[in-house]
């Protein structure tokens, strides 16, 4: 057996983290590990979802002695309401991000900071929404499309337009079950209303609304975010990049963009590429300007510009601990407020840019669409000026870096599959080759690996371990968000990672020319995965829920993940979780989210905190679905 070298192990990653932790200790700087320790023991009532803080009669906690709150709400109602509120908040976050992008598209102009980069994508969406395009200026079309998109947030009647993209079976099912989402904001508001004091206490109804508000995200706000981002900044294509903290450069001005909304980071990237800025950096003794990404902003920027990825959620403090970062500028979501205090220990400028995410102690520069480029240039200049303040003797940049191929939205996946079609037998432009590989047994199935990091489990370990075991079992992985970054750091996005796979997946990777883990983007791009699975279902001729394709979020933590899990299940895809949703205090809720939803959508959660047991259940689940299909 040939030895495959150069992959980064979890132990090597942990050794790097440990060295950075030492630096933190030397500086008496606090990190998440310290805060996690001081939070122990964590509140059991909170963890089980049975502490109600919805009205000021409370807080009410459910115990055997006190099985109901003051109003009479039982554990099922309390846990159910909490669960729905999490889903609603997650949906609000993703969807508001989508709305921001819609506003940018609405203001896009030929000579402004933002232009339409993918006209084809715009015209396709215009056609889908019945917008006139003949003899019209492309920007008029863009503005009308944005307008329609924005109306999806608050239209008084009807359900979401994107639902029509789903399989017919799904559309019928959603209508019949009464879970087809109406306007996005309405579903969020309704969820808050339903969970308000003195409203719904029926857990099943709360779970149904969770599915609905989740879909308002996945088939609404998120999908719009993805769609409009592609129109504005270009639909991603496969490209090479690198990942992990080793992408920071010792002799360059390092600027980290962090968060989720690419509207802002795009401008920073553009500004840093100007000759004027590069020359300015050189005049200050730097070899150049190095932009690196954290979290999903990294995923967005790497797919479109090849910007290198410094790491995922639990790596944000580590990036600053290297002492080599001149500036971290952040937009929205998953930003540790702790970065502000940590920045005090270093020369790093910590810049917040969105009114959605204001953090005390940060430098606040509110980004405006109209002046985005000038503002970005100003920030880059500020970072360059800060280069001379770097304390060179305190710099430690871990050397582990991995090459990666990123950027596989649905269009790119189809393009790749076209390469293995035979022009004498079949048409291009479908998922047929992938379906044939799955039906014949060469591939056993596919898993969408998504989600965050969570200090409740060993960071990245579950992601990487599960992906590796899936790969060995000929199961293709598509990944987004922090899961995709974990795969990047381990080297699983390299083309030669196929050598870690079973013969089936290896052969597919070789013939198609792809890595075994396909990077599909940020967490907002999980909507791409819904379209991918839908496309496969349509080409196969069976509904989504029968496909040997499932989702897995082994280290999730954000409310956004709850929204995502709900729309994934609503789409008919089993979802494997490595962290328990905070409803364990209610047996009825546990039953509802694992089995109850199956009666509604055909899918549910499978929960296991042990990653090895979890991956075993994924493989068993996939094989069971294969058996039912007779393949």
């Amino acid at each position: 057996m040939r030895e495959i070298k150069g992959f980064t192990t979890i132990e090597e990653m942990e050794a790097d983290a440990a060295r950075l932790k030492e630096i933190a200790c030397e500086l008496c700087a606090e990190t998440w590990e310290d805060r996690k320790t001081s939070q122990q023991p964590q509140c059991k009532f909170g963890e089980e979802g049975i502490c109600c803080r919805i009205c000021s009669m409370g807080p009410c906690r459910v115990t055997p002695k006190a099985p109901r709150g003051i109003c009479g709400a039982d554990a099922h109602a309390i846990a159910g309401r909490h669960y729905l509120r999490m889903a609603a908040a997650g949906s609000a976050a993703h969807s508001d991000h989508g709305r921001e992008i819609a506003h940018v598209l609405h203001k896009a102009s030929r000579d402004g900071s933002y232009q339409v980069k993918d006209e084809g994508r715009l015209l396709a969406l215009a056609a889908e929404w019945g917008v006139e395009t003949v003899d019209r200026d492309i920007y008029d079309v863009a503005h009308e499309v944005a307008d329609i998109g924005l109306m999806e947030y608050g239209k008084p009647f009807g359900t979401l337009k994107f639902l029509e993209r789903a399989t017919e079976e799904r559309q019928k099912l959603w209508a019949a079950e009464g879970i087809a989402p109406r306007a996005i904001d309405r579903e969020v508001a309704t969820s808050l209303h339903m969970t308000n004091m003195g409203n719904t206490s029926d857990a099943e109804v709360l779970v149904r609304q969770s599915l609905r508000v989740g879909m308002a995200d996945g088939w609404g706000g998120s999908m719009m975010g993805t769609e409009f981002t592609d129109i504005l900044f270009g639909t991603p294509t496969a490209r090479t990049t690198q990942g992990n903290l080793g992408v920071l450069e010792a002799d360059q001005v390092n600027i980290i963009v962090h968060g989720h909304d690419p509207a802002f980071s795009e401008m920073v990237v553009v500004a840093a590429e100007t000759k004027e800025m590069i020359d300015y950096a050189k005049s200050k003794g730097a070899a150049g300007i190095n932009i690196a990404g954290l979290c999903c902003t990294a995923n967005e920027a790497t797919m479109r510009h090849g910007v290198r990825m410094a790491g995922n959620f639990l790596q944000q403090e580590n990036a600053m601990l290297t002492g080599a970062v001149e500036m971290i500028c952040v937009d929205v979501q998953c930003i540790f407020p702790a970065l502000s205090r940590l920045a005090d220990c270093f020369h790093t400028k910590f810049v917040t840019t969105s009114p959605i995410c204001r953090i005390p102690g940060s430098i606040y520069v509110e980004f405006k669409t109209e002046t985005a480029f000038e503002q970005a240039r100003g920030l880059v200049e500020m970072a360059i000026d800060n280069y001379e303040n770097r304390k060179r003797d305190k710099v430690f940049i871990p050397t582990h870096t991995q090459d990666a191929v990123v950027g596989y939205p649905c269009d790119q996946i189809i393009r790749e599959l076209d390469g293995v079609t035979n022009s004498h037998l079949e048409d291009r432009g479908s998922y047929r080759p992938a379906i044939d590989a799955i039906r014949s047994g060469v591939l056993r199935g596919a898993v969408a690996m998504v989600g965050c990091n969570n200090p409740k489990v060993r960071p990245d370990y579950s992601h990487i371990q599960i992906m590796k075991e899936l790969m060995e079992n000929d199961i293709l992985v598509v990944a987004s968000g922090c899961a995709a970054q974990a795969a990047t750091k381990a080297g699983l996005l390299r083309l030669d990672a196929k050598e870690l796979c079973g013969d089936g997946l290896k052969r597919v990777c070789t013939l198609v020319g792809i890595p075994p883990v396909l990077h599909m983007g940020a967490c907002v791009d999980i909507s791409r995965m819904m379209l991918l699975v839908t496309g496969i279902a349509k080409d196969w001729g069976v509904d989504v829920t029968r496909l040997p394709i499932v989702g897995c979020a082994p280290e999730w933590m954000s409310e956004k993940a709850v929204a995502i899990a709900n729309y994934v299940v609503a789409t008919g895809i089993d979802t494997y979780l490595g962290i328990e949703p905070q409803v364990k205090g209610s047996t009825q809720m546990m039953e509802l989210i694992t089995e109850g939803t199956r009666k509604i959508t055909g899918a549910g959660y499978i929960i296991n905190k042990d990653p090895h047991a979890l991956v075993e259940s994924i493989i068993a689940g996939i094989e069971k679905k294969r058996g039912l299909l007779g393949i």
């Binding site: 057996m1 040939r2 599959l417 293995v420 079609t421 035979n422 022009s423 004498h424 037998l425 080759p433 044939d436 590989a437 039906r439 014949s440 047994g441 060469v442 056993r444 079992n473 000929d474 079973g502 013969d503 089936g504 052969r507 597919v508 070789t510 013939l511 198609v512 007779g630 393949i631």
Partner: protein
Amino acid sequence: MKKLFDRVFDGADEMFALAQKTIDETIAELGESAPLAMPNTAYGLAVYSAYLAKNINTLGDLKAAFEEAKAWNRHDPRLKHVFSTGMGTFMAAETIEACKYAKGPDPYKGEYHGHLTDAEVRELGVPLVTDDIPGFVVIHGAAPSDEEAIELIKGYQTRGIFVFLLGEVIEQARRKELNMGFPVRVVAVGPDIWQVAHIISFVYRAAMIFGAVQPGDRWEFDDYTFYRIHAFVNAFDPVSDIVVACGAGAIAMGFPVITDDEKDMWRVPKSILIQKDTANFIETSLEARDIKIKITNIDIPVAFSTAFEGEIVRKKDMRIDVDGSKFETFELVRTAELHEIEDHCIELIGPDFDTFEAGSSIGFGMIAEVGGKNMQSDFEPVFERNFHNFLNCVEGVMHTGQRDVLRIRVSSAAYDAGFRAKHFGEVLYAKIMSEYDAVVDKCQVTIITDPDVLKKERADAKKLYDKRDERLGSLTDESVEVFYNCILCQSFSPSHVCIVTPERLGLCGAVSWLDAKATNQLDPNGPCQVVTKERVIDENIGIWEDVNECVFKSSHGSLEQVTLYSIMNDPMTSCGCFECICGIEPFSNGVVIVNREHQGMTPLGMSFAEMASMTGGGVQTPGFMGHGKQFISSRKFMKAEGGPARIVWMPKALKDLVRPKLDRTAQDLYGIEGFTDKIADESVTDEAEALLAYLAEQAHPALEMEPLI
């Protein structure tokens, strides 16, 4: 629908059961200690060797190995196990076939080809690297009709694809009287699916010979077959489970299966393709295996393909016989000024073939005049020597000889199809313009049958040949400024590199220094690059720093030094497609040389195949070296060890071929007359003891030379 993997597992079980039965019966008949060897190969049972690194010499060995092979037949639903089950099926198939050869070296009595020899593997080395054979197809089963079978086979043949036939398609081809055999690249391997073992053995030997892949190194074998052997399968309806099991093995090796059987058949991208229209098999298959055919459109009424290179036109089928022993014949390339050439002008001087009686012997001359801004007269003989290859690709034309002694036959079938004298011109024009377009801008061809003109032009041509010989004679390793390397073979033999010098042509015999020079000029980034020779380490035995640097780089670091004129110290490596192999003969202090065509033993107690297996794949093996035939008479032939005087044994045919030049070299170097006669051959002996006696009797100079070891 029966699952694909289950079909593989069931089919494998069938093959294993048959193998068990066969080996049990054979052992019952011959006993476990009965010797077992496949003929004319140094690789034993190559399939077993590749997978298990087993040396199998007796039926007992085979039985033990077969027990190990059973572990490969593992029925778990993962492609890994499906692949190993497919490969295990090949071992079971080889078991069945080997049992036949245990009973005698020729179980098929000429009816089927069966086992392929090492020499046959090696023969394909050059055409594979030059893409003259762009791929292999294995056709199994019966085509819907005899006509369709023939159409398919001929379709592949005209595209240069090497065809292996298994099963009923052979009978179909026979009914249609198709000319089959290794030389025309259509091989009727055998009537049953288990004869597939011979094809797989052939492929794995190519990996061992050209790729230096070590027995048992499954990973390297998989890579080699996937990336370097462009083979695929056409399986006709009905495809049974046992064929599907073999298909799994083929797909594991990287060879897609194209079939018209839909029942219980599963599409797998680029691996299993269901093409109901068998007329589309060829195009579907070539695309599936990513084979692109170089197409030269030549305006002639018969087919043109490298597959016809080995075709023989027999006397009874002959319409025209160009006979250089009785008539004036010649072929010539000469450079002319661009303005003197009318591009694509084909002129015939004298009567056409119609005017001659069927079967007539005639005189014949061909002059190709070429011009171009980058044309050099040194390229003339390079182009001219390729007339042989060009003309032999014409279906129904056989060309032998060179310069002013030619033998050309045109078959009655070609003549009936409309093939005439001017078509020789069309072929030469098209090939020269397509192969040498980097230096030839214009070309015109004159064909001569008129006896008077022939006489005059042949005399002029002779003057030119003499001039070239003079130039060639003056070309020595010392007189030229640079050498060339040749990495043409690296598509098959990734770490081999030849250093081509005026006195040491490429070991395949196909690339002389002038060829390499022309190749370099034609494609400056191509397989032949300039190697400077400025930093001398030892010019006498052939070591230069520049050469070593080139060898290190071109072999991707696997070689550090070569001594060009030695076979003992850092000798040049071999790719595997060498014409001859020489190896030291310790008792006489000399070397034995044997050419690929020679089937018999040598005084080393080894055949060509066995000696050849000692080297190849870009590995340095002191004491053994592959080389071209023309190198034998070179002054640089093992100069470090004393030169050609070391040669003590060669097959007679080879002696006859090299005699004139070798005698002259020996005369010049040692003052020995008729040296070739002092060399023993198979008519004298193929045993070491008798060899020594003969050499003593002949006062062979090697006996007096310093010990080699």
